[in-house]
């Protein structure tokens, strides 16, 4: 398909012997927002975590199949390189507590030993914070600790931190589930704006959120991908019975 950036081929993930992701084939479209939904324990977070190989932190997780980024199997590349191309934002905002806002944004460079001129760092910080819609609020406090921000601001700081590495794909694991409604709507607006420059894959429990911001929706159930398609189609006319029951609140 034209515009595919990330593809999983016959993807299986096991925790010891338990199968968490069962034969998932999915094509993520470039510069679109794809939502992954499903009831708790359906494997959606596991799937997401495979996409930048952060699942490897759990030694019992085993992956079979292929994940192609720009046609290249990212399971065969060094995970450190994969993670620079595929950024991730987590459920709870987690700016680095010992660093200032400024240092948080460029932490990906500093910690990787990438040396740039001060002016280039300044530019990256301003650019990333603007993209994350946080610049106006923090531009005078760049050298204060990131942990003094509100939860929503912290989460946007984490998005800025991920964006600073200029990733091709941004993974978000229920990024608004720990936030209040106003912060949530800030982040939703931000994501819609961001898809111009980066492909977004978001795991969410919030059906309305998926409906509001995503272009494509996938629905997982018991580790299998049971439905994948354009969001308006999946929401109005789901092909799978389980999806329909989930969308109408009968389970999940």
């Amino acid at each position: 398909m034209e515009g595919t950036i990330l593809t999983t081929k016959d993807l299986f993930v096991y925790y010891d012997t338990k199968c968490a992701v069962n034969n998932v084939n999915i094509e993520f479209q470039k510069n679109k927002i794809t939502a992954i939904m499903g009831p708790s324990g359906c494997g959606k977070t596991t799937l997401l975590r495979c996409l930048n190989r952060i699942h490897e932190l759990n030694p019992s997780a085993k992956v079979e199949g292929k994940i192609l980024l720009h046609g290249e199997d990212l399971l065969a590349i060094d995970p450190i390189l994969v993670r620079r191309k595929v950024g991730m934002v987590f459920q709870r905002p987690n700016p680095f507590p010992t660093m200032s806002i400024y240092d948080n944004v460029i932490s990906g460079y500093k910690l990787n030993g990438i040396r740039l001129k001060k002016s280039e760092f300044d530019e990256i910080v301003e650019d990333s914070l603007k993209k994350a819609a946080l610049w106006k609020e923090v531009q005078h406090d760049l050298h204060k600790r990131g942990t003094f921000l509100s939860g929503g601001q912290q989460q946007r700081l984490c998005i800025a931190r991920a964006l600073a590495m200029k990733p091709d794909v941004l993974l978000l694991d229920e990024p608004t589930s720990a936030l209040d409604p106003i912060s949530t709507s800030h982040i939703e607006e931000l994501l819609v704006e961001l898809k111009k420059t980066v492909t977004i894959i978001i795991v969410t429990h919030n059906l309305a959120q998926a409906g509001r911001i995503s272009d494509y929706t996938s629905f997982m159930y018991l580790g299998e991908l049971v439905e994948f398609g354009a969001t308006d189609k999946v929401f109005t006319n789901p092909q799978n019975e389980q999806t329909e029951r989930f969308l109408t609140g009968k389970f999940g």
Partner: protein, 289 residues
Amino acid sequence: MKDFSIKWRIIKNNIFKISIIGISLISIIPLFLILFFIFQKGIASINLNFFIAGTKPTGEIGGGIANALIGTVILVLIAFAIAVPFGVITGIYLSDNKKSKLASWVRWAVELIQGVPSIVLGLIGYAWLVLPLSKLTGGKISFSALAGGLTLSIMMLPSIIKSTEETLKLIPHSLKESALALGVPYYKTMLFVILPAGLSGIITGILLGVARIAGETAPLLFTAFGNYYMNVNILKPIDSMPLLIFNYATSPYEDLHNIAWGASFVLVSFVLLLNIFARLVVKRWKVQF
């Protein structure tokens, strides 16, 4: 009847409250008595000369603790330089590998070292460091500050390892994940993200470790040995505060007893200050997540 039972309950409750406060007060009395006694006995010997003068030959009045003071500083520095890197790195390993076999062996070993009497560690230092070195160099090097420092470093390890492990365990897992998700290698994640976030707890552990070894006598008896003369060569026997106290207090001379009291006062003050400082570090440098 009902009235009576409620009253009785309140009385029982008050008896309990009073007794826990009372017993707590009683249990700190010895501490304050010790501090008071050492202060009273020791303060008289303290003057500038006490800190800068070395030991005088027996029979001469005066003299100070300079050689012991310098000796203790050197011993603590050697122990510190060895125990801190080993302890912190082992702590990192334990916090990160909760279930591995090696980790459980290491934890077990740490508990064991903590339980070994310090005199036994001193003997081990003698058998493993002093004797082989002496044999190797034909007796040129036998008792030495190096052997003393190494022995003390073993005593210091458990407190550093445990505090590092416990502190790092409390740091949210997501912090590590988010650093790794930026493509940061594991070692940089641990050294520049996780370790700074737990610094206050680790420093506290180190300070308490120093406080513990600064007053140790037994491990030094067979290793650093003690020295009545000023020495800064780490391959030579060296004096330390607790050794000086031990030697002087068991001597028959009144003025040496007084120096021992003065040295006790200095040592106790040092340990006390270190403990207070450790508490301040926890408060001040506490990282918020």
